[in-house]
Amino acid sequence: MTLTGMGKHIRVLEQAGLVITEKIGRVRTCKLGQRKLEEEAAWIEAYRQLWAARYDELDNVLEELKQKEYANGNVSEQ
């Protein structure tokens, strides 16, 4: 993942209140919520983002498959 991508992840976590960031000069430091529950929520959010990205891509693949099936006269054995 790129640094930009990482920054995006951190912003989402920050907006969800799961991390606190502080910028001193050129360096931005992050602090995680101390409680286990918050760590778990952060983990689930990261996991959800991964799957959301995958499934957006799957939407594109499915759209192509639907077009192809339609073009082939919609011959389905279902």
Binding site: G5, Q15, E39, A46, L50, R54, Y55, V61
Partner: protein
């Protein structure tokens, strides 16, 4: 402004629920019939197009899938100058309905992934359920995760502790 960025990812409806200490479930509905969704999960050429989203800037080196009971799969990713492999065996294959496979690469034991496909009026709900061997494997296992994404996230979380 604050809320728009955090609500954006939820717009496509991907839901993640921690069902128990050792179970995580991901649910999403697709605007396509089940036989096409199943095809996209079981055809290597199609699978590798979406399993590794373009936004991750990472290419699968290889993707082999022998989708039958007892058949093997193997995904190879580039990772820190070397490679990382994800592999396992299909336990159940019910066309257009259900797929179950093992994830054998984890050091903490085998994770079982069950994917069900349920079609209603031309749309298909996909439920992906991961059953981890231990609670620890949920948080630190790399099963189903992009190695780049999750190893970096793990490092980040470790550095923040």
């Amino acid at each position: 402004m604050e809320t728009s960025a955090s609500s954006e990812p939820a717009a496509n409806g991907t839901q993640v629920v921690r069902k128990s200490d050792v179970e995580v479930e991901v649910t999403r509905t697709f605007d396509a019939p089940a036989h096409l969704v199943f095809e996209a999960w079981t055809t290597a050429e199609l699978f590798k197009r979406w399993w590794v989203p373009k936004s991750f800037g990472l290419n699968l080196l290889s993707c082999e899938m022998d989708v039958q009971v007892g058949g093997q799969y193997r995904l190879v990713f580039p990772h820190e100058g070397s490679t990382m492999e994800f592999f396992g065996t299909y336990l159940e294959v019910v066309p257009n309905t259900r797929l179950v496979w093992t994830n054998d690469e984890g050091e903490a034991g085998v994770t079982i992934t069950t994917v069900t496909f349920e079609e209603t009026e031309g749309k298909t709900q996909v439920v992906m359920h991961d059953l981890y061997p231990t609670k620890e494997a949920v948080n630190f296992g790399s099963t189903n995760a992009m190695p780049e994404t999750f190893s970096q996230l793990d490092e980040l979380l470790d550095s923040l502790r």
